[in-house]
């Protein structure tokens, strides 16, 4: 197993700022927009972006939620292990709101498919966009593409992208791991 650094802490920070600006450009004051981080790892991206938007770009209020997609996945009973759920926390209505789904890595697109179904349980959004920090293009199983992407990666199937966050793993870094 070998691993190389795909993005350093500094690069991640620059990319997050760019993504925050792109969101700002399309959503201005976020009065009609909600950010939804997909559990378990998209929540870190959502929280970082919110922090940047509020502290550096003076956005007063942003609704941020976390969505668990376990019960909507299409691989129930197909793997060896029981799929374990994490917390869903959406304290607002998504009815008629613009929803930005946020995840760390976009790979096959199946998680996003599940998230698109799951979010409907909370109302009918007027529009749904997708933001992803890493886009592993050429490995999609479904016709799903991000509206905002941090970095595109041409990783092959036996490679894995591992995103680490300071608040959870001790440091900000993204590795490309060859299994």
């Amino acid at each position: 197993m070998s691993q190389k650094v795909l993005l350093s802490s500094k690069e991640i920070n620059i990319i997050l700022h760019r993504l925050a600006c792109q969101l700002l450009e399309n959503h201005l004051d976020f009065s009609d927009t909600v950010l939804i981080g997909i559990q378990p790892r998209g929540t870190f991206v959502a929280e970082r972006l919110t922090k940047i938007l509020q502290e550096e770009y003076n956005v007063k209020h942003i609704d941020v939620g976390f969505l668990d997609i376990t019960f909507y996945r299409d691989d129930f009973r197909r793997g060896d292990k029981t799929l374990e759920a994490t917390q869903t926390k959406i304290d607002f209505l998504v009815e008629d709101k613009k929803v930005v789904l946020i995840d760390d890595v976009l790979y096959t697109g199946r998680s996003i498919r599940a998230a698109l179904t799951a979010i409907q349980s909370f109302g009918r959004p007027s529009e749904i966009e997708l933001l992803t920090l890493i886009d592993r293009r050429f490995s999609r199983h479904l016709p799903i593409q991000p509206n905002y992407k941090g970095r595109q990666v041409d990783a092959i199937n036996n490679e894995r992208v591992k995103v680490m966050w300071k608040e959870n793993d001790g440091k900000d870094v993204i590795y490309l791991i060859n299994k």
Binding site: D68, K81, T86
Partner: protein, 308 residues
């Protein structure tokens, strides 16, 4: 990633503490799901579940059916009253006939203790025991402990007294196993005639004075007198039973501390508890019913994920 240590839910006796924690954590998520505007998830859309009830039930049957439908499973219902059982069909034949319709899981209530265990040895489907005679009623015990955990934060080190007809109660036995597994202390209280002879072998103390029992406990789980199972007279009159073992508001208010009142239903109002106790703020009877759906969703989800 963890999973249940069992393929069937036949009784609490066959679970370990980790299983109970996993069921509770999963039920927490399902409780959030059933409070959404759309209360349904698609996880079990390729699973078929048969609810086979050889004995009357309202709450448990509805709760199981709702849990199955919230998980998007296909559901078929079967009650012994309207079936070939009356024409002399055996249990295994009945169930095998149902299973040949490609059923993956069977939820069964049966008047004979051990019916679920027997069935699990003879058919190739996941079995959930929804009550077998006076033996076990595992999902009831799970939802009772889950409700205590929700109300008091934890089950460990809590003192629980089970009051009433312990002898004929599957709820009592499953609760004793579940509570002890989680580190709670359990006492039983009721007329001597309705307490099994060797209950001390389960590490359970017997208290025949209701006031003493209530003053000792954090939670009182009130059971119904199961008149349909009383083959002989176990106490002189219902009125006398109520005087000695019924909880009324005056008794509740005179205790040293505020205790939690539970009841698995159906309640005989005015017998084991009065209406003002059942409807008081100390009672979590309706929370138990709501939690029942979440717990059954968790059990079915976790068992179904083991069906290959």
């Amino acid at each position: 990633m963890s999973e249940l240590s069992v393929k069937h839910l036949l009784g609490i006796k066959y679970l370990n503490e980790k299983d109970i924690q996993l069921i509770f954590e999963t039920a927490d998520h399902f409780k959030e799901v059933i409070n959404r505007s759309i209360k349904k998830v698609p996880s079990l859309r390729d699973i078929t579940i048969a609810n086979i009830f050889f004995e009357d039930s309202t709450r448990t049957k509805l709760s199981f059916e709702l849990a199955e439908k919230r998980l998007s499973a296909d559901v078929i219902n079967f009650s012994a009253g309207q079936s070939s059982v009356k024409k002399g069909e055996t249990l295994i034949d009945t169930v095998n006939n149902i299973l040949s319709m490609k059923v993956d899981m069977v939820v069964m209530r049966h008047p004979n203790p051990g019916a679920g265990i027997f069935l699990s040895k003879h058919v190739n489907a996941s079995i959930v025991n929804a009550g077998d005679g006076a033996h076990e009623h595992p999902t009831q015990a799970l939802l009772d402990s889950f409700s205590i955990r929700e109300k008091l934060g934890d089950v460990a080190a809590k003192k629980v007294v089970i009051v009433g007809d312990i002898l004929h109660s599957r709820v009592a036995l499953s609760n004793i196993f579940a509570l002890q597994l989680q580190g709670a202390e359990v006492k039983v209280c009721g007329p001597r005639t309705l307490i099994p002879k060797h209950i001390d072998s389960l590490g359970v103390e017997v208290e025949t004075n209701l006031r003493k029992a209530l003053n000792w406990c954090d939670v009182a789980n009130m059971l119904r007198i199961q008149n349909e199972r009383l083959d002989i007279s176990y106490f002189p009159t219902t009125r006398e039973y109520t005087q000695q073992f019924g909880v009324n508001k005056a008794l509740l208010d005179s205790l040293d501390k505020e205790i939690v009142i539970m009841h698995p239903g159906p309640i005989n109002r005015g017998v084991e508890i009065t209406s003002d106790v059942a409807d008081s703020k100390q009672s979590i009877i309706l929370d138990q019913v709501e939690n029942g759906v979440a717990i059954r969703m968790a059990v079915i989800y976790l068992l179904a994920s083991k069906i290959k």
